[in-house]
């Protein structure tokens, strides 16, 4: 049962070192009935540049990127079992959470959210997830 690399051209490449064109990461890996998605941020899928904006804009762009990768693996939000969220400023939590809620349309997941320092300047939220398949 091999490790399968999942790639979506509708989501940004993750894990770039500045000046290096090739990332050491996969956007996602499927192994058996599990899918692991690398942390996504508010990046433009085409250009890889930061999509600036308030936490609502950044949360939407980040979740759009995450969902594009899930789609490339034939998964949706219904497959998500666990998410990790890092906020640069936890004062953003209420608006992050309400934007998150809109996206999930009643689909429930487990999630752990905490404040931390995101390595890319301008990125104020980063989200990864684990999804599972029937």
């Amino acid at each position: 049962m091999p490790k399968q690399i999942i790639t979506s051209s509708s989501a940004p490449t993750t894990g770039f070192t500045p000046g290096q064109p090739v990332s050491p990461l996969a956007q996602a890996i499927r192994f058996g009935n599990m899918l692991f998605v690398s942390g996504q941020g508010s990046l433009d899928p085409a250009t890889g540049t930061v999509v600036a904006g308030d936490i609502v804009v950044q949360t939407r762009q980040t979740l759009d990127n995450l969902m594009s990768i899930l789609a490339a693996a034939d998964a949706t939000a219904k497959n998500i079992v666990n998410m990790r969220v890092i906020l640069r400023d936890v004062a953003d939590f209420p608006r992050f959470n309400e934007t998150f809620r809109e996206y999930f349309g009643g689909e429930k997941v487990t999630r752990t959210c905490f404040g931390g320092v995101l390595h890319r300047a301008g990125i104020n939220v980063e989200i990864d997830c684990v999804a599972m398949f029937d």
């Binding site: 009935n33 219904k78 497959n79 079992v81 666990n82 990790r84 890092i86 906020l87 936890v90 939590f93 209420p94 959470n97 309400e98 998150f100 809620r101 999930f104 429930k108 997941v109 487990t110 999630r111 752990t112 959210c113 905490f114 404040g115 931390g116 684990v130 599972m132 029937d134």
Partner: protein, 132 residues
């Protein structure tokens, strides 16, 4: 093999926005032989209020909440945990309290300093458990 939401009234609701009573989250999700539990903090299960106290007390409350979820799902085998400490200077006391709660059961764990989003919560713990 559907995703199954595990909910429990004797553990606090997680992921509440202040002023909103309904969370977008599940306390735990079981899928097949895996159980994922949302990050638990030192929060009173009945009132949803932060349980104030030193890191030993907060660790006990957070782990009690987590263990309640595991019990509700009839899960015993914790395989992986993630811990966020607001102040890593709390690590030794946190770790000794953690040790007491686990009583010889070994798990994998990653611990780092970060900012739990809720004021007053100084430790947040989540886990993955597996079923035989």
């Amino acid at each position: 093999m559907p995703k199954r939401i595990i909910s429990l009234s004797s553990a606090p609701t997680v992921g509440i926005t202040p002023g909103q009573s309904v969370s977008p989250l599940a306390q735990a999700v079981r899928f097949g032989n895996m159980l994922f539990v949302s990050g638990q903090g030192s929060v009173d299960a009945a009132t949803g209020n932060v349980v104030e106290g030193d890191i030993a007390l907060q660790t006990r409350v957070a782990l009690d909440n987590l263990m309640s979820m595991l019990a509700a799902a009839k899960a015993k085998n914790v395989v992986n945990m993630r811990v966020t400490l607001r102040d890593v200077a709390d690590f030794p006391l946190f770790n000794e309290t953690f040790r007491e709660c686990f009583d010889g059961e070994n798990v994998t764990r990653t611990c780092f300093g970060g900012t739990p989003n809720r004021a007053g919560v100084n430790v947040q713990i989540d886990c993955i458990a597996m079923f035989d």
